[in-house]
């Protein structure tokens, strides 16, 4: 079968199946919590019972920043050419603690504290990657990487091609992005929409502690340049993580919840916004399928087209701006390739095309809230299929 062939070295990861609530996936700050956050509407073991179903030697629970740190630690130990460079990644341990304490273990050269010169140290990372190292370059905030656009676009993405395949650039460019908590316009940017057109790079967005660790390991081991999007508000999300040899396929999407009514495509923090809406939707009798894109570029067209063929309706929930976002690309692709499988036009829920204001209410109005997702499902699906749930 194709699967065993294409997934050598990868693990086909599906999210938790319908019927069992996922590991605690509700990290939304209280102001955005749905009115009824604690109700569990599905049969199955609740949070308190889960411990008893796990064996003693089972996986541990870590917060996302810890799981990323663990991935870094394991990969740096495994391969001495892996190094991290960025602002405050060494002695400070990273502004989100992702490299906390690692400089004591690996030294100042492998955890390189750079001066504040994004374009410069990004280029230095490219040169190091071309000559045998596997650097991870951290942007303290993804937004700062706008300053490194020259190096990311021209050199990171294009060098393998313009050199006729002579030099590879096995870099990981990572950092926190997305809208946080009243961080102001410049710290609330979504750079995935700017980077997506760059040929020669892959874009990956993580959302759980488990996939963060597994994807970071895969990204470090990959020979391609990977732009790795973390989210400022997800670093404290807790979840089970796997062991040192567990990696996740960089090109595959994750099915968070199987369903039949509508396919909701999301990524990063919007996964949680959507799952928050799903709680409400389940109560109303809807059965949405939720797909976490993971790979923003290239799209996993197998998972996406399977899902759309099954449900015949698609909603995209993203934190990017409406104009030119990941949703814009995905919407175009779905319309072009799955036109006859659609019963409704693809609906995009994106952020407003405005700079993110500082004031809480304005900020909340800029991005997609669970209520909007619920309303979109109502609009796209109409009346629920009427299947009763326990």
């Amino acid at each position: 079968m194709y699967f065993s062939k294409v997934m050598s070295g990868c693990v086909d990861l599906r999210g938790p199946r319908a019927g069992a609530p996922p590991a605690s996936y509700d990290p939304l700050p209280p102001i955005w919590t749905h009115p009824d956050p604690q109700s569990v509407t599905r049969a199955g073991p609740g949070p308190l019972n889960r411990a008893s179903t796990r064996t003693a030697a089972a996986k541990k629970e870590l917060m996302m920043w810890e799981s990323l740190r663990e991935a870094l630690d394991e990969e740096m130990e495994r391969d001495p050419t892996v190094c991290l460079m960025g602002e405050d990644v060494g002695h400070y341990g990273g502004s989100y603690k992702v490299s906390y304490g690692l400089h004591k273990k690996y030294g100042d050269m492998r955890l390189l504290d750079t001066p504040i010169c994004e374009n410069g140290f990004m280029g230095m990372g490219v040169g190091a990657a071309m000559t045998g190292l596997r650097p991870i370059v951290e942007g303290m905030n993804m937004g700062f990487l706008l300053l490194a656009f020259n190096q990311i676009s021209n050199n990171c993405g294009m060098l393998h091609y313009t050199s006729g395949g002579q030099f590879k650039v096995p870099m990981v460019i990572r950092g926190p992005g997305g809208v946080g908590r009243q961080l102001g316009a410049e710290h609330s940017q979504r750079l995935e929409s700017y980077f997506q057109s760059i040929p020669g790079v892959q874009l990956v967005a993580v959302s759980t502690a488990k996939n963060a660790k597994a994807l970071l390991k895969a990204a470090i081991r990959s020979d391609n340049p990977i732009i790795f999007f973390e989210h400022v508000l997800l670093y404290n999300v807790k979840g089970e993580v796997e062991g040192p040899e567990y990696t996740q396929c960089l090109e595959r999407a994750e099915i968070v919840r199987e369903g039949t009514d509508v396919s909701i495509f999301c990524y990063s923090r919007m996964r949680y916004v959507v799952m928050q809406a799903v709680k409400q939707l389940e109560k109303e009798g809807y059965n949405p399928e939720v797909v976490d894109l993971i790979s923003l570029k290239p799209f996993d067209m197998q998972t996406i087209s399977r899902s759309v063929k099954k449900t015949r309706r698609a909603i995209i929930v993203e934190e990017c701006m409406k104009t030119g976002g990941i949703g814009a690309s995905l919407s175009a692709v779905i319309h072009e390739s799955l036109f006859n499988d659609l019963d409704h036009e693809v609906v995009r829920l994106s952020s407003q095309d405005v700079p993110t204001a500082y004031a809480y209410e304005l900020e909340a109005a800029t991005i997609v809230q669970p209520e909007k997702v619920v309303a979109a499902v109502h609009r796209v699906v109409g009346a629920p299929a009427g299947v009763a749930y326990a």
Binding site: V126, A128, L133, N150, N154, T162, Q166, N224, P298, V333
Partner: protein, 418 residues
């Protein structure tokens, strides 16, 4: 306060000592070792040949001199052939010729670097590639856009790369190659300091022009090179013009000077700044040998400003109307090739026959590379999609579950990859 030639007590008069303005300032402290290395050679007049021939080290062998000469002649003949080929419609786009600047490429790369050292360049990279050792055939084929080119026809004039000889590119945006070269120097230092490879003493040399010295990446790289003590050498080929912008109009003068000296920016970033006559290959070689030796010893970076000149316009599309005839004649009189020729003949390092033989062999090599490039095949369509990713899984998964690189059209360049 601001030192002036006329008021400098050491010189005893205005204009008497042209070097006065370039000497390190006499502060209360003894100049550091690095500061003492800031020296300059007077470069403005054609008569300097007499003064510098005495200062050149006589310890250059006949063999080395002939190698340097041949390398410069190869650079010159190759570039002249490029101009011919361009006007005959064999190469297209933007082609930037190096004619006149050969002494810098030969003096730094041919004279001082090993095969495993790295260089990064700008769009004016043909001769850097030749000096580094890449065959003229591969470079001409690349310019013709053929499959046998050094980048399989995918790079072109401005993007020459060679992994075997450590040519890290060929960049169109000035300044963007400097951090890349710095990264190669970082790898060299990393091998020594982290991986324990004591023999890893490769150096990286970055070539760029006067215009680049206003780009932020230049300063960012100077800082990091000095901060981390990386074996990186910055060579500024100051040919005084950035397309139509004269250096004096684009860059502010350094304090107390009438010229925007670029080498003076070196000490500000903790490295020696050396000014050298870029039309004199032996002077360039001398400065570069010391800079490379410094870097290999682990003492850190050096900034070399080479005063040079391009005899042709910025590119083959440049009408070159702004530069004065006088300026062009002045530098034509300082052409590096006749200079070295005269030196070699004078010091008995080669005879007229030897030099004629070298010229003939270069002419043969250049003719051969044109024939080879002409006869080479064009790139296949398979090259459209190959090499975009080192791991072709980067194109993702198609609707039927296969990776896109497995689709039949991929090799033909017709597969839908997005």
């Amino acid at each position: 306060m601001t030192p002036r030639l006329s008021s400098c007590s050491r010189t005893g008069g205005a204009g008497a000592d042209r070097l006065a303005a370039f000497r390190p300032s006499r502060g209360p402290q003894r100049p550091t070792r690095a500061a003492r290395q800031v020296f300059a050679k007077a470069v403005a007049t054609p008569t300097k040949e007499a003064s510098t021939s005495a200062s050149k080290s006589a310890s250059i062998s006949s063999e080395t001199a002939k190698e340097l000469y041949r390398d410069m002649v190869l650079g010159r003949e190759f570039e002249e052939m490029c101009a011919q080929m361009y006007y005959r419609g064999k190469m297209f786009g933007f082609v930037h010729l190096y004619s006149g600047q050969e002494a810098v490429s030969t003096g730094v790369i041919k004279a001082c670097l090993r095969k495993d050292d790295y260089i990064s360049s700008t769009y004016r990279d043909h001769v850097h590639a030749l000096s580094k050792g890449i065959s003229a055939r591969k470079i001409m084929s690349e310019l013709f856009g053929k499959k046998t080119g050094t980048c399989r026809g995918q790079g072109g004039s401005m993007h020459m790369f060679d992994a075997e000889y450590g040519l890290l590119g060929g960049y169109a945006f000035i300044g963007e190659g400097i951090p890349v070269g710095l990264g190669a120097a970082f790898t060299s230092a990393y091998k020594r300091r982290v991986l324990g490879d004591d023999g890893a003493d490769q150096v990286a040399v970055n070539f760029f022009g006067d215009g680049t010295c206003n780009v932020g990446q230049f300063y960012e790289s100077l800082n990091m090179a000095s901060l981390y003590k990386l074996p990186c050498i910055f060579v500024v080929e100051n040919n005084r013009w950035a397309i139509g912008m004269n250096h004096l109009r684009a860059t502010g003068s350094t304090l107390g000077d009438e010229e925007p000296w670029i080498h003076k920016k070196g000490p500000a970033f903790g490295m020696p700044g050396v000014h050298v006559d870029g039309m004199d290959v032996l002077a360039v070689r001398e400065a570069a040998l010391e800079a490379v030796a410094r870097a290999r010893r682990g003492e850190g970076p050096t900034l070399i400003e080479a005063e040079t000149y391009r005899f042709r316009g910025h590119s083959l599309a440049d009408p070159d109307e702004l530069r004065s005839r006088e300026e062009k004649e002045h530098y034509a009189a300082r052409d590096p090739i006749p200079q070295l020729r005269a030196y070699m003949l004078k010091h008995g390092l080669a005879s007229e026959t030897d030099l004629a033989e070298l010229h003939a062999s270069v002419a043969a090599e250049v003719d051969d590379c044109v024939e080879y490039a002409d006869a080479s095949p064009k790139p296949d369509m398979s090259q459209l999609l190959e090499n975009v990713f080192a791991d072709p899984k980067g194109f993702g998964i198609a609707p039927d579950g296969r990776y896109r690189y497995e689709l039949p059209g991929f090799t033909a360049g017709t597969a839908e990859v997005s």
